[in-house]
Symmetry: C2
Subunit: 459 residues, 2 copies
Amino acid sequence: MTIPSIPKGTRDFGPNEVARRNYIFNTIRQVFENYGFLPIETPAMENLSTLLGKYGEEGDKLLFKVLNSGDFIGDLPASAFISSNASALANKICEKGLRYDLTVPFARFVVQHRNEIIFPFRRYQIQPVWRADRPQKGRYREFYQCDADIIGSDSLLNEYELIQILDEVFSQLQIRVKIKINNRKILAGISEQLGCPEKITGITTAIDKIEKIGLDNVISELHEIGLSKAAVDRLQKLLQFTQQSTDEKISYMRQWLDGSELGNKGLLELETLLGYVQWDNINNIIEFDVSLARGLNYYTGTIIEVKALDAEVGSIAGGGRYDNLTGIFGLAGVSGVGISFGADRIYDVLLQLDKFPQALQQNTKIMFVNFGDSNVKYLLPYLKELRKRGIASEIYPDVAKIKKQFSYANARNIPYVAVAGEEEITKNEIVLKNMSSGNQYAIGKDKFVEHVINILKQS
Amino acid sequence: MTIPSIPKGTRDFGPNEVARRNYIFNTIRQVFENYGFLPIETPAMENLSTLLGKYGEEGDKLLFKVLNSGDFIGDLPASAFISSNASALANKICEKGLRYDLTVPFARFVVQHRNEIIFPFRRYQIQPVWRADRPQKGRYREFYQCDADIIGSDSLLNEYELIQILDEVFSQLQIRVKIKINNRKILAGISEQLGCPEKITGITTAIDKIEKIGLDNVISELHEIGLSKAAVDRLQKLLQFTQQSTDEKISYMRQWLDGSELGNKGLLELETLLGYVQWDNINNIIEFDVSLARGLNYYTGTIIEVKALDAEVGSIAGGGRYDNLTGIFGLAGVSGVGISFGADRIYDVLLQLDKFPQALQQNTKIMFVNFGDSNVKYLLPYLKELRKRGIASEIYPDVAKIKKQFSYANARNIPYVAVAGEEEITKNEIVLKNMSSGNQYAIGKDKFVEHVINILKQS
């Protein structure tokens, strides 16, 4: 027998995992809603034209493409179907792709529905995304993102509120984190100061890897993209300058960026934001990290990344400001800022730190033993009433040996079992057994439902 | 400017639609849980080998296939890429497909995880499915199914409980329905009696269309599949025999099926199930309908279909027993029975009948007007405290004209707006405005949060 399997990088979730995942989703959702964010949902499939070119060349390769239905070949000549041409060909035989993140579909949503939307628009979205990444620990091909964005306002108060949300969610989940912030304009200013503003993408891509590959390798990469030795040396000093206080970092950066208008604008934004943060009792550490770059090209201002302090899993949340994301869909001048929680990595952290609350799973509270039809008929009104009162209840469906029925209840961790044999039926009673203590006693059938509700309240 | 769009047959959901959809999902989920069902989730993508051949030839065509990543052409000769070969070729360049329903993935799940599962296993699953069907009113290419199945028990009590669930959910949603039931063994018995047991699929496929295409067209189709005139005449009498009481129908069928062991077994199952249903106060109509066939081939016993009485949308729920679904994945002898709610059609019915409860949307309750940083700093503790107490609150992010800020609150239907100008700050007060009455008054800042919570409770 070949055991069936699922595509690599995807997962099945059993009842306990679903309950734990819902605990994460519900925590995040409740905080989003308390901050005035409204939910939207978008389709799993987007037109490929919506997705292509939004995530860089690498991102395009990682899109899952959906084959056109029916005759997908049509007029394409057989000569088009050669391996070296696979990538271009894919876009001819597929016009749809699976959602790669929630930000680009959100930008598309905003442009498409701009006449119905009241700006500034605070939306949240909790849905799966798909990436054809190489699966590895903590990286899946299907995973959930939980995003909150504010679009149509360039106030830095929005960034501040998103930082409050990050702080609140991780406090509630009992995960200690460091919230790192930087500003893309500072990174642009750095490129300017190094005399190569056109190399900003290369520089940020290299810097972004500092934690993964170490400073030496970042420096090699900076040489490779054509930075002069003097520029690399200057940048190196900056990247090694990480241990000081925030005020020291900012005044150092002010000197370093002297003369770069863009760089100073970024620095001013950063200072303003850090000023807001000081108004408040933030539970977690906020750190200005000039090496923080974030891969996605659409960011133009503040960038944010969150790391768990007590677990090694990469970033568990992040975000930033994008001044022109809707511009790619034809709606210019709408600034947005957002954050995204990586629910799957948060799951792994909670598991590793043993921080999931006990008894998350909504389980059956009472099972009725089945001795046959007349017995079921006797028990039915109580089963039905308990369910109506919101007590998860079941009756064993088969007329099996009582031992088998109790084994099932035991294996399922059902705390109470109810039995009514001929004697109990004659006496208008039902026997209730506490499965953990083994205690059992008869109850008049008219008092049965109230009794069960009371003992469940107490336990 | 080209307005971006989404693939045909898919939909965006705004905040109000999400709230209404969640009302449906939560109602169904709560009933499932009260009946002891546990949630699972499976990946959106399954291996094509899991999906192909499970939904009939038509179903295979309606599967969305996901193109293999990278070089999907590989060793395939260019000559393979011809239109007439598209369908076979698709299976060579795609090894994954999108979930078409929740039943086959569930069967796959049961076989794959059979050593962790406690049988009988009561699972529910609420997830989207995708079908490359021609989009039309009430039929989408991405839609949600809400399934409950019991696997590992052949007791008819399971069917009975599923009927109770159908009755309970539609009662709670205030949709009046007719629950039609039949039994696949009766249909098999009919084919036997007509002398062509091998034609059961053709016969049931034809019968299944009676509501859509009418009796005359069904009869033509029966001739087309090669039934003799005598057989068609005999069947026609049966199909016209629909107005009698259930008891009359059953005794008529008993005569009709005389001599067919399978047919009589089906009839006995049906009678037993209808007997159970009579134990109970079912709110909705239960009807034995011998023309009910249900398209899916994997059913082997009871079949169920639910129609709304007050709206024309086709079936809004359905299900049945399958004795050997896990057999296709190598695990034989496990009988299951399940139902599926079509959330999208239920949505359309609730909308049409105006049965959605008011005020489902979780909206911001209070907005603070923003006069600039020092003003925000003054208001911040109250904003934060309200959010902590679970009151959805926001501060307008920009220092815009007060008229603009009030317009926003108005458009968003935010019921209360809080303002603190210089005067209020000096007096340690905050002004609260009721947006619907226009009333406004000052409150001492220390009493502000309790006051807001109190008036929100009253409204």
